[in-house]
Symmetry: C2
Subunit: 349 residues, 2 copies
DNA sequence: CTGTAGTGCTAATACGTAATAGCGAAGATT
DNA sequence: AATCTTCGCTATTACGTATTAGCACTACAG
């Protein structure tokens, strides 16, 4: 026996014929509108029986063609990654997205086909916007392509970006994490712990998120009477000399955006007989990649799951009630770092 | 400024208007049939330009209504789980599926909407078959609903099940793991290690996979001259008494389908001063749930990633060349358990 | 100047469903 | 008797695409 495909499924017209009514009547009964259409119980029953008899199943394509909606939400990541890989930074977002999709009864389209030969993921490929297969989409990615976003917005395609994103001259919907407040509060906490010099060490490349953190850092410094000290460093920029200089200026705490940088600092300070967190506090305030951590760090928690959920909620709201005024930009609070690598400042010399 | 959306996606009619031709001409050009329709290069170019300009993308609903494909593959899991959760048994399958989808340029539809209020996942819900939005689907699940599968097959819907699945009177396409050979080989290996009594402890509920393992066990016993000893146990059925009785009959190795059962055995045998694997060998031959293992076990490896990939490959083959005769049932080899909890049999008393 | 062959399209239709407008018959009201 | 309501539906249309039939025109042969 071979696996067979392609058989004609019964349609409402078939049922109508069997029950001796019109297709419209069948649609009304199946769609639960028999009251409005004044189909009496008896006829409705006859129709239902015929439908069951023939094994009728509504054709979703026809339904969505009529209703202009597919109940499909797209998920698009700009980074060239398998979005569902758990090693991936995005995985936890995905879970939130999926949980909410289940809750609202939408299906998800994972846009995996949008990868071009160079591994780049673009929305517009061959001039076509594949996202259109979904009613709306959730977009993820640090390196989101601004021109893609602007064009999508100009096209009126409904989407929500996960992570704050500024596109000039365009207001786009996003759900972000409130790095700014969280970082400011962290500076406050360190101050309370006696730190007087807190250094911020950021990505060399400045994304929205890192700018938010720096802004929070600066405002935290300001409101706590601390002089800010900002450096933008790649991993290899972190040298023993740099650390010595920092320590010489009295820095006792570092806010670091990259785990690699934190590891370097830990390494060099260990060589100098400094222990963490007793002599030096370090907090990770960037996005921690995977769980490949060689040690626990005090880390600013990104509410990834919730961000995913909120993005879907906002998107579905936008789809179901397009004209209701609402907040298109949502900031969710981060969770504060724990005490792993944060402690009271050492006694001053 | 407000976020504007819900502009109607452009249709072929819009393009036609822009290019000054008829909708049919647009369809012909977009569908690559401009030759047959005798659309000259110049006009075709004009149409393509307009399409690009407007960001046209074919409406999936209309396309499938016409019986055409959308380059969309569905993924449906019968278990009520978030399929992308990494805690999930299915996650690794998903990754394989996604990798292959990327490779062949299809997008994936995660069917999350098919969950009914009781948490059950069914294909046919509310009298509609959501799967139809995808050209074909990959189905996952130990507890796959046979009537759903039979109906899908009867409807001629193209799908591939991940995991061997027997549906009476219907041949279903699937990609499975060759538990049977692997278990038989494992019995052989244990025999070589000197074990003379190897016990099989299976799920109380018998799925295809567990039946395969038992069959392999029995054939392995037969070809190695061992008397089989089979038990179907839930976690709580594993008592100290049961273990004592087993050991009394001379059992020195257990093939266990559930990690929980293995843990019980380990616990009770430790209480009797038996160490694993020196006094007792244990191999896990079932599907290990997550990575919540309290210890490493010698485990039969399921080629999950490859199964996912193969399922997609088979499905796409079925879609692109429906009438080519081919294997619809694919068995992939398992990887043998390592030596964590398997060792030579203790000297006989 | 008619007939024929191509060229470049357009017009029309089908797919299955949902929604809206409305029709004929029966009964109720004036 | 004439009008109005209500009932129980049907007929029609729209959604966007693919496909088929065929029309209007030109070029050329005879």
């Amino acid at each position: 026996m071979a696996v067979r495909h392609r058989r004609q499924a019964p349609t409402q017209a078939d049922i109508a014929r069997a029950a001796g009514v019109s297709q419209g009547a069948v649609s009304a009964v199946i769609g639960g509108r028999s009251a409005e259409q004044r189909i009496p119980r008896e006829t409705a029953q006859r129709i239902m029986d015929a439908a069951r008899e023939l094994g009728y199943v509504a054709n979703t394509a026809a339904r969505s063609l009529k209703g202009k909606r597919n109940r499909l939400l797209g998920v698009h990541t700009f980074e060239s990654v398998f979005p569902i890989s758990q090693r991936d930074f995005y995985h936890e977002f995905l879970i939130g997205i999926e949980e909410q999709a289940v809750a609202v009864g939408y299906d998800l389209v994972l846009f995996t086909s949008t990868e071009d030969p160079t591994g780049q993921r673009r929305v517009y490929r061959d001039g076509a916007n594949r996202l259109n297969v979904a009613d709306g989409s959730v977009l993820l990615g640090i390196g989101s392509n601004n021109s893609d976003l602007a064009r999508l917005a100009a096209d009126g395609y409904p989407f929500v970006h996960v992570g704050r994103r500024d596109v000039p001259d365009t207001e786009i919907a996003w759900v972000g994490a409130d790095y700014s407040s969280a970082t400011a509060e962290l500076v406050g906490r360190l101050t309370t712990l006696g730190h007087r010099q807190v250094s911020y060490v950021g990505y060399a490349e400045r994304y929205e998120a890192s700018r938010d953190r720096e802004a929070g850092y600066r405002s935290g410094c300001a409101s706590n009477g601390i002089t800010p000290g900002v450096a933008y460093l790649e991993q290899d920029d972190v040298t023993a000399q740099w650390l010595d200089r920092s320590l010489a200026t009295g820095v006792t705490a570092f806010l670091v955006e990259r785990q690699e940088v934190a590891m370097r600092i830990a390494e060099y300070s260990a060589a100098r007989g400094l222990s963490i967190p007793d002599d030096l506090s370090i907090a990770l305030i960037g996005a921690s990649g995977g769980s490949s951590a060689s040690r626990r760090w005090s880390t600013l928690g990104i509410p990834r799951n919730q961000m995913g959920r909120e993005a879907v909620r906002l998107l579905v709201d936008m789809l179901t009630a397009p004209d209701v005024p609402r907040e298109f930009q949502i900031l969710l609070p981060c969770t504060a770092p724990d005490d792993s690598t944060i402690a009271a400042a050492p006694p001053r010399r």
